[in-house]
């Protein structure tokens, strides 16, 4: 007995909206990174759910690559946060208002 596909979509929408909530309410750059990860993983849940829905493994393989891309994104993101802390002595994203300082 398989779970109906709507509930996978509902879970994915919930996780995605938690990520959007974090980005809209917080000002900490590290919490931004965590929220972006939540949104990426919501997309992964959709990929796996539709992979099962269609009986084709392409979605599952693609979600693996999405996870690898998320790892690369976090590596660069933490580097940017480090530079932000070095230059502003804080990781508040609202303080870095210009591209160049």
């Amino acid at each position: 007995m398989a779970i109906e596909s709507q509930y996978y979509l509902l879970l994915s929408a919930a996780i995605f909206c938690i990520g959007v909530y974090g980005i809209l309410t917080r000002q900490n750059a590290l919490l931004f990174l965590m929220s972006v990860e939540l949104m990426l993983n919501a997309a992964n849940i959709n990929l796996v759910a539709f992979s099962f829905y269609h009986g084709n493994l392409t979605g599952q393989v693609f979600s693996l690559f999405t996870m690898a891309l998320a790892a690369a994104e976090v590596a660069v993101g933490i580097g940017i946060v480090l530079v932000l802390y070095r230059n502003f002595e804080d990781i508040d994203v609202t303080k870095a208002a210009t591209m160049r300082w």
Partner: protein, 143 residues
């Protein structure tokens, strides 16, 4: 420098209502759509089929998939570039003292302290400042 964690009080809850509204809309759309029963996978090992799909050996996998060998190579290059980018971003501008433990995220390098003070400060952060003067050179550093 360090402080205990506190509950965030600068949270903008009003903006968060947009996310809540987005969830309500998405949940309404998903729950009112009529989706047929999922097809499910054919018999056979899913993990093995994923591995075969990743390396373009589609004829050996039990479950239908597409080839992902090019994506595999591309993602390897992207991870390599991300590693290089992270190292480039994390490297200091004045590359003279890069061995000490960065317990402060590199903040102290911008202040006017000498390198020996910085080193002893790093040792105190690590909890081993037992009678060491600033001039001793037992840190295994690069000087």
């Amino acid at each position: 420098m360090t402080s205990r964690p506190r509950l965030a009080t600068d949270v903008n809850y009003v903006n968060g209502l947009a996310a809540l509204a987005l969830f309500v809309v998405m949940a309404y759309v998903f729950m009112t759509s009529d989706v047929s029963a999922p097809a499910g996978f054919a018999d056979g090992s899913i993990v093995a089929s994923i591995g075969y799909a990743m390396f373009d050996m589609l004829d050996q996998g039990a479950i239908e998939a597409e080839g992902f060998l090019v994506a595999f190579i591309v993602i390897a290059l992207v991870l390599d570039a991300a590693l290089d980018g992270a190292v480039m971003l994390a490297r200091r501008e004045d590359d003279e003292q890069s061995v000490t433990a960065l317990a402060d995220g590199g903040f102290l390098s911008r202040t006017k302290e000498t390198s020996s003070e910085r080193r002893s400060d790093g040792d105190s952060l690590l909890g081993r400042n037992d009678g060491e003067d600033a001039g001793s050179s037992d840190d295994g550093g690069d000087d």
